[in-house]
């Protein structure tokens, strides 16, 4: 993601409670040749605090080129809630959110898109497919344009 639109490279914020998944995702993103910084969080609360700052206003993320990788099944809250908060926040609503989760329930998928998620990917158990999906995602990251910070 050698973003030509911004000074700084886009930061990938990954909220994923499973260490293994986080590691596999990171490995495969790197294999796709994406070298952007990845900031991992193991639970929703930490992720929210990082994204919205201590006061929860989201000002900290204002002007930061971000991309959020979000798992839905977190120990302390559902990813849907985080997605809703990001998309309803004045400073962050344009941040691309990629939901990457084991859930393939049609209703859940619908709900995420309704809330404004940009991409929804189901983690396949079959590793071939999994690795493939993440690599594709990496390619996608390398061509995606994130909105330039105001």
């Amino acid at each position: 993601m050698n973003s030509r639109t911004s000074e700084r490279p886009v930061e990938i914020v990954m909220i994923e409670d499973d260490d293994g998944h986080a590691r596999l995702i990171e490995k495969n993103i790197r294999r796709a040749g994406v070298n952007n910084p990845i900031t991992p969080f193991k639970n929703g609360t930490d992720g929210i605090n990082y994204l919205f700052g201590a006061d929860g206003s989201g000002l900290t993320s204002k002007g930061k080129p971000l991309l959020v990788l979000l798992d839905l099944n977190l120990p302390d809250m559902t990813g849907v809630e985080i997605l809703g908060r990001i998309k309803s926040n004045e400073h962050m609503k344009r941040v691309p959110v990629v939901v990457l989760t084991t859930t393939d329930d049609a209703l859940e998928i619908q709900r995420c898109y309704d809330l404004g998620c940009n991409v929804y990917i189901t983690k396949p158990v079959n590793y071939e497919n999994f690795a493939n999906a993440i690599r594709q995602l990496g390619l996608f990251f390398s061509v995606i344009q994130v909105p330039s910070p105001e």
């Binding site: 499973d18 293994g20 998944h21 596999l24 084991t102 329930d105 158990v125 079959n126 590793y127």
Partner: protein, 504 residues
């Protein structure tokens, strides 16, 4: 329920009142008939009395007339006077005969009449004798007879007897009139009292019925209250059950999801291991080459064998891990699918089963022709149910029928349907390998299969079918004979009774 008058007592009282009213009516009727009859007989008697009085006076008159015409004849010797005289006796006799008819019933009257008849006979005899004497020319003798006064005595007696009788009849008439009056008064009293009683009974009856109706109304309201309560209880129970079911569904769903997560890792890192294998063994090879260079060349063959063995063992282990993961993934996916089916909303509609089965047969027609199987479908009755669920049910059953054929027999699948008052029943019958009766329950269980395991499958289809049929308010039946074929019977309610929301 506080009822002062229990139902049986009320009924008894009511019956009693009705019975009493009826008896009263009968009584009044009987009394009226009796009294009217009495009044009629009284007036008949009165008429008889009057008639007797009349006729007695007639007799007296006739005898007097006879006497005066006889006297006239005696005075004038004119025989024209005798015409009247001669006509008088038969007339008198006739009147007496009439009186006999009237007096038959009464001994008093009969004896009076006997006396009257005797006297009349005597008088006429006396008069005839005098007339005969006169006609014979013995006028003096005849006159002497008259003077002798026997005729007058008879007359006086006759008059006395008749007057007495008339008086007696008069008294009788007075008595009769009195009786008649009394009878009429009684009739009136009976009628009035009876009517009053009946009105009374009617009033009591109405009161009772009203009271009972009020009680029934109260009871009905209480019952309605109880019913409402019962319905509430049923609602609670159903809600509980539904909740429990949803709980199970959620549980299955969550468990399968959460099981998936570690599986992704196991699979992922196993693959990573495989990728590492190349590097490890390349490294081994390099080291071996270095060692070989340092030592003499003789041992390298053994080393090579050993490293090939290591590679094989490694591959075998990884292979087992991967197969197991694939299996586990399949199972988890099956549970997920089932739980998702359990949570799916049903949309009941009237389903044209002929079209539905036709569609399924079209999709399997290629397979069927490869197997040289024939599918026969009767005209099937429609049913109100969920279209998608019905498709899954019959798709699964037909798929199974195609899957488990026999080698020595061309496959033949029959699909039949019939209606009962409340249900639509469909049979899917094949002449395939059949199922052992011991396995009838087992084939419907998740991940369980029966018979020779020579066909691909997870053991999910029938479990899924049964879960769906149950959720649709129906039942699933199976009849089979090993080596002869199986019949799967789906019974669905004709009108949708299932839950629209989720599994029950």
């Amino acid at each position: 329920m506080k009822l002062a008058l229990p139902r049986w007592r009320f009924l008894n009282l009511q019956t009693l009142l009705l019975g009493a009213g009826f008896l009263l009516l009968v009584g009044i009727g009987a009394a009226t008939i009796y009294l009217v009859e009495r009044a009629a007989s009284d007036s008949r008697e009165l008429a008889v009395t009057l008639s007797i009085e009349d006729k007695l006076s007639d007799i007296l008159l006739t005898v007097r007339r006879a006497e005066s015409s006889q006297r006239g004849y005696l005075l004038t010797n004119d025989s024209t006077y005798l015409e009247d005289f001669r006509g008088a006796e038969p007339e008198a006799q006739e009147t007496i005969a009439e009186l006999r008819g009237l007096s038959e019933a009464s001994a008093t009257r009969a004896s009076t009449l006997d006396r009257v008849a005797t006297l009349v006979d005597g008088k006429f005899r006396e008069m005839r004798r005098i007339v005969e004497l006169n006609e014979a020319g013995q006028r003096d003798e005849a006159l002497a007879q008259v003077r002798e006064g026997e005729g007058r005595r008879i007359m006086v007696k006759l008059r006395d007897v008749i007057e007495e009788a008339v008086e007696a009849e008069g008294e009788l008439a007075t008595v009769r009139a009195e009786t008649s009056r009394r009878t009429n008064t009684r009739l009136l009293i009976v009628t009035l009292v009876g009517t009053a009683l009946i009105i009374g009974i009617g009033a009591i009856s109405i009161m009772l019925v009203q009271r009972n109706y009020r009680r029934a109304e109260i009871a009905r309201q209480e019952l309605a209250g109880t019913n409402a309560n019962l319905e509430r209880i049923v609602e609670y129970r159903t809600a509980d059950l539904t909740e429990a079911n949803e709980e199970i569904q959620r549980f299955a769903y969550i468990v399968s999801h959460d099981l998936r997560s570690p599986l992704v890792n196991v699979m992922g890192f196993t693959s990573e291991l495989e990728a590492l294998r190349q590097d490890i063994f390349a490294e081994l090879e390099r080291l071996r080459a270095e060692v070989a260079a340092l030592k003499n060349e003789a041992d390298t063959a053994i080393e090579e064998d050993r490293s090939a063995q290591l590679g094989r063992d490694f591959d075998e282990a990884v292979g087992f891990i991967k197969t197991s993961i694939a299996n586990m993934d399949r199972l988890i996916n099956a549970v997920l699918r089932l739980s998702r089916e359990g949570r799916r909303q049903f949309n009941p509609e009237t389903v044209d089963m002929n079209a539905l089965i036709g569609g399924i047969i079209e999709t399997v027609s290629h397979r069927a022709s490869e197997l040289q199987a024939t599918l026969r479908v009767d005209a099937l009755p429609p049913v109100e149910t969920d279209l998608l669920a019905a498709q899954q049910i019959f798709g699964n059953l037909i798929d199974n029928a195609l899957k488990y054929g026999r080698h020595d027999e061309k496959l033949q699948i029959d699909i039949r349907g019939r209606l009962t008052a409340t249900h639509a029943i469909y049979d899917v019958q094949d002449n395939g390998r059949g199922i052992d009766p011991a396995d009838f329950q087992r084939v419907f269980e998740l991940f369980r299969r029966a018979g020779k395991q020579d066909r691909p499958g997870e053991g999910i289809g029938l479990a899924h079918v049964r879960a769906l049929v149950r959720r649709m308010g129906g039942t699933m039946g199976l009849n089979s004979e090993p080596g002869k074929g199986s019949t799967f019977t789906v019974t669905l309610p004709r009108r949708w009774t299932g839950d629209k929301r989720s599994a029950v």
